[in-house]
Symmetry: C3
Subunit: 483 residues, 3 copies
């Protein structure tokens, strides 16, 4: 198992030769990760990973869903209250390695195994035990603890995703620790507070009330408490929020309507429809808050969560059956964009798992509104062929500067360098194709390749200029994001 | 006219060279055809084809719709009660040959004419008569009768599509005939019994009652009769069912509701909406039956039938104006998959003519549910560029093992080898591209190419192991499909 | 800045070599432009363009929307009652040149600057002034006046887009002027009369009443007036109509219903829903009129107009925030096509900005109905990658002869040759790919490439045969389009 140096750089020899050059200019650039799900506690405590299955299989729903789709039960992959020994979980992965052919999961795993762990043995039924032993031995070494890994990955900025009630204690300590070179910042994600129909909604409101000292028993109280925590997040370095919703509708309610649904939600007896109205209004309100405080709004819309109720009931959320919905943005965001779409303080980055939205909704919106950016291909679409379709669908209408730069969106720490590397290779290839087809100059291609891994994500996510980059003022970053 | 040996194998020389090797490994493999529309009567009686028009034009709605779209009336192509002489029909095809450029119809016809009939003369206005004579001469020879053709095509398994009321007498006789090497099996397709709004519904119920001795005057009677006939089909070798519906919604009704609509349907005065509810419940019930008896459920969803009423009224169904509808599967199948989605006995293969469903619905469903498989590109999408889009849209999320293998879906006997050959070439090319781009090893590509034409379709459709293949247990085929 | 002679002709050397040959056969063919927005007044008066900003920036919403999306206000690009001096507008374009990388806007601008104006200096902040001066100097020369440019572009037919109330005086004078070699014809576009909810609807009806002498205070009067003006347009050379609608639904109302909504629209107090019903009925009626008078019906469906109300209020329509809607055609056009879909006098060309409709709706409709044609990729989709997706999505189902040929749809006179040239290159490349992949003969590819720029658009738009082409009768053009 030895990943080829030219992997993903293209099929045509001229494209590949140029892509190789373009990629050489970005391969070692520091990683900017403006959105992901690495646990800040993991990084702060720096406890070693316990075993290969806990690192590579059980927590990664990309891996478990593919094994599950092949008939392997989630219980035997360590989910839920499973007692399956790690070694057996690992064996299940290795024995089914061939089923991952052609998927990015295999690509990332091979990449991480070889480049991060120096493994050369290919996973298979008869190598599983030896691999398990080799990896376990590595994981016992200090160099393979979370923070040491992060440092070796050359991650400049890492954003986590956090609940508004979170104290951000881990972030505070990480920021105070001079030994941590990566800037680790929180991201405000208020999903749990948006839908009164959620079973845990009342409990969450109570928790938020307790944290803020603001009574969330009313709609107005909740808005105030959220505003309060956004400031808290900003004080801890946050530059962005995130929100995940079934659809992108952001439709305001009157205060009276919202207040009445809020009360009903607490009292019980709310209809599903009213909860949807409430959620759509909250999305609108979060947009207004973003225009006020300048936190960049990431919108991940169009996922049907927990499709298979029996699996959800037994194993909980994030277990591989969150599935894409038909998704549009243009009509759903109309009212919000009419309000704040040309406000220089407002910024929204759109992500979809329905790729029809790339050329129909996202690129045209990003190609008119200064506030709208086309988010990188997400989730089911973060693989070579889908990434290439994304660039082909978005660039002609919105250019490169209105795209977000790569986002790894991962909870799998060791996949971070593999995912960013994949993106850099694919962008190099896309740019090389434009050059070889005489649509772009080589010089422009080099500049764009570099911008896509540094200036562009820094500007889009208001991360400030890198000390290493040139002193050109970047017109995308307002000097002061708050008015 | 001489099809190039490298056709469809790719443009890049390195891809083509490798694709050639991969294709060489599958080009002569026996054909597995788990879904199609060849007439079992045709095969049993083995009557010679009467003339080139009856073989290549009149019954093939791919051909007639393209000619019709060019302004040629269906009557002059032999449809309905046409009296157009075969030679004139054939002339119309030849005179319009150029209009087929770039379509798979021309590809299949050229392929069949050259490889099956040894024709080298290209169709054109001035070659029509000579071609007609050449072909007529061939058709008069014993080697060109249906069964002799089938044998020369090296078809290992051929599934037909049959009405539940069918006696399956032809299948029984074909199975009993030692001279028939191909395993010819029926497929249970109950479309005609699902929609009370169909004009012929009462008549169909009566017919089914007569065949089964079970009174289909009630909903419960109909379910029992269908169960009864599924067993009949299984006894005649069926391993699968098929169902074609306007949408994929499978939504259960209570027994009372279904019974009441059933009665209303027979009495007259049913609303269109109630008929839709009934149909969606029937799809759900067919899913439950599949989970019981282990017949693989093929779901062909999203076709608007008989778009042009005047053509339908004059020429009947299947005359080229069945058109794709916007299609989704994820929400529509939720209730059914919650019930039986992880039942090892249940299996469903999803087909669409709306290609947006490949990456948004089908691949994610197949990438989680062990029971769900991504069906081959169907109908409007069974052509080179569309097939390549299908692989690119599905593989990264679901891999190769959760796809169905190729399905020819044809009533045109002579196009069977051409269609399977096209698919083998395109899969070889797709795999070669992955190898040349260093995403897959050459060894894996060879194994996958072979699996796609043998182990995979055999496993997906529960056809049992081929005597010729290796004795590895295949985890996709439960030892006993019925509990 | 020097566009490469092989631009867009493909990446693979064999494809490119053949595409070069195919392109050579069409590069200098006269331009047929059956749909666009060049002002007939501009051509008739032949007033010189005032300055580079007025020629290339302010009126071109492709350019201004991209600059706006980068944070540049429309006011500083000359829109509305802007007083920004042309030189500053031009500077804004040049300073942001890098933001256009990868977009067709940059391609067309570079192409026009170099090939039409002989400019070699690349736009940039520090070349803006010099470029402005060079271009201003050119524009002062007689050779750069509108008509001289048109002549130098070798435009054989140019269709404009015109309101039914238009006198067509400019067209009449242009036709009467022997010095004008181009056949400049009007296109009937009645959008303004279809939606009673439009603020200016009553005013437009009055205007039309005045022009025709037919009282448009009633629905019947409006229909009569429209019929009357269609004849007027035909007398001035029109062969087609155009219509732009939010959706493609063509659903008839009874005369009573339509009359009642019409009255309500004039009296005030109409609901939004009733206006939509009225519009959909008008689309149906326009279809019936087309079947009567033989004017080819162009249908541009699925655009959400004026998405950002503040921009619309300040700067008016066509300012970059018209955005694509989810679009279907198959069900929406069912009633109309059932009525006139096989009427040889009726012809409809379908355009979409939602590319999912290409393979799902448009190609299947064009692949059955003799009256339906697949329009060229439109608006957001008129760029290299999107054009290639269009051919790949449409050809396999509908062939080449059921596509419209290229349509530039532009108000930017100087982009006409660049746009047609882009299309010719891309078609040459697509055809070359089919040949190199052995799906098409070289001879067929040459014939199709030529047909796509001459016989096909001439036939589709009933423009008559070109004097230069071969005398073969073309079956797509009925000898007499009116019965």
């Amino acid at each position: 198992m030895a990943p080829h140096p030219d992997r993903l750089l293209g099929i045509d020899p001229a494209v590949r030769a140029l892509a190789r050059e373009l990629y050489a200019g970005t391969a070692d650039a520091p990683i900017i990760s403006p959105h992901g799900h690495v646990s800040p506690e993991l990084l702060e405590t720096n406890r070693p990973f316990t075993d290969p299955a806990a690192l590579f299989v059980t927590p990664d729903h990309y891996v478990t869903r593919l094994l599950h789709s092949s008939g392997i039960e989630l219980d035997s992959l360590g989910l839920g209250d499973s007692t399956t020994p790690p070694r057996e979980i690992w064996r299940a992965l290795c024995a089914n390695w061939r089923r991952f052919a052609g998927t990015p999961v295999r690509y990332w795993l091979e990449d991480a195994l070889t480049r991060v762990f120096g493994i050369t043995l290919a996973p298979a039924a008869d190598t599983a035990d030896e691999l398990f032993d080799q990896l376990s031995e590595r994981l016992s070494q200090p160099a393979y603890r979370p923070r040491e890994l992060l440092e070796s990955f050359n991650v400049d900025v890492l954003a986590t995703t956090d609940d508004p009630s979170d104290s951000l204690e881990h972030h505070r300590r990480l920021a105070a620790d001079d030994a941590v070179a990566t800037r680790i910042i929180p991201t405000f994600r208020a999903d749990a507070y948006m839908s009164p129909a959620r079973r845990d909604w009342p409990e969450r409101l109570e928790q938020l009330s307790a944290v803020t000292g603001i009574d969330c028993g009313s709609y107005h109280g909740l808005l105030d408490a959220l505003r309060n925590r956004r400031e808290h997040f900003k004080r801890h370095g946050a530059t962005a929020t995130d929100v995940g919703v079934t659809d992108a509708w952001a439709t305001p309610l009157s205060d009276e309507q919202a207040e009445s649904i809020h009360k009903l939600g607490l009292a019980g007896g709310l209809s599903r429809r009213e909860s949807v109205f409430y959620r759509r209004n909250m999305l609108f309100q979060l947009g207004l808050m973003a225009a006020e405080d300048g936190l960049v709004m990431q919108l991940h819309a169009g996922v049907i969560r927990n499709h298979h109720a029996p699996t959800y009931n037994r194993f909980g959320p994030d277990t591989g059956h969150d599935l894409p919905a038909v998704t549009t943005f243009t009509e759903p965001l109309r009212e919000l964009l009419n309000q704040v779409g040309t406000n220089p303080n407002f910024r929204i980055v759109l992500f979809t798992v329905d790729e029809t939205a790339f050329s129909r909704d996202i690129a045209p919106l990003a190609g008119f509104y200064p506030s709208v950016y086309a988010g990188a291909p997400w989730w089911f679409l973060d693989a070579p062929a889908a990434v290439r379709r994304y660039r082909a669908a978005v660039t002609e209408t919105a250019g490169f500067n209105k795209t977000s730069g790569f986002i790894d969106d991962t909870r799998a720490l060791c996949s971070i360098p593999s995912r960013h590397d994949m993106s850099r290779r694919l962008d190099a290839r896309y740019l090389a194709e434009l050059v070889i087809d005489h649509q772009l100059s080589e010089q422009d291609a080099h500049a764009i390749a570099k911008a896509l891994v540094s200036d562009i994500p820094r500007a889009v996510f208001r991360l400030g200029r890198s000390p290493a980059t040139s002193p050109d003022p970047n017109p995308d970053t307002p000097a002061s994001p708050t008015p």
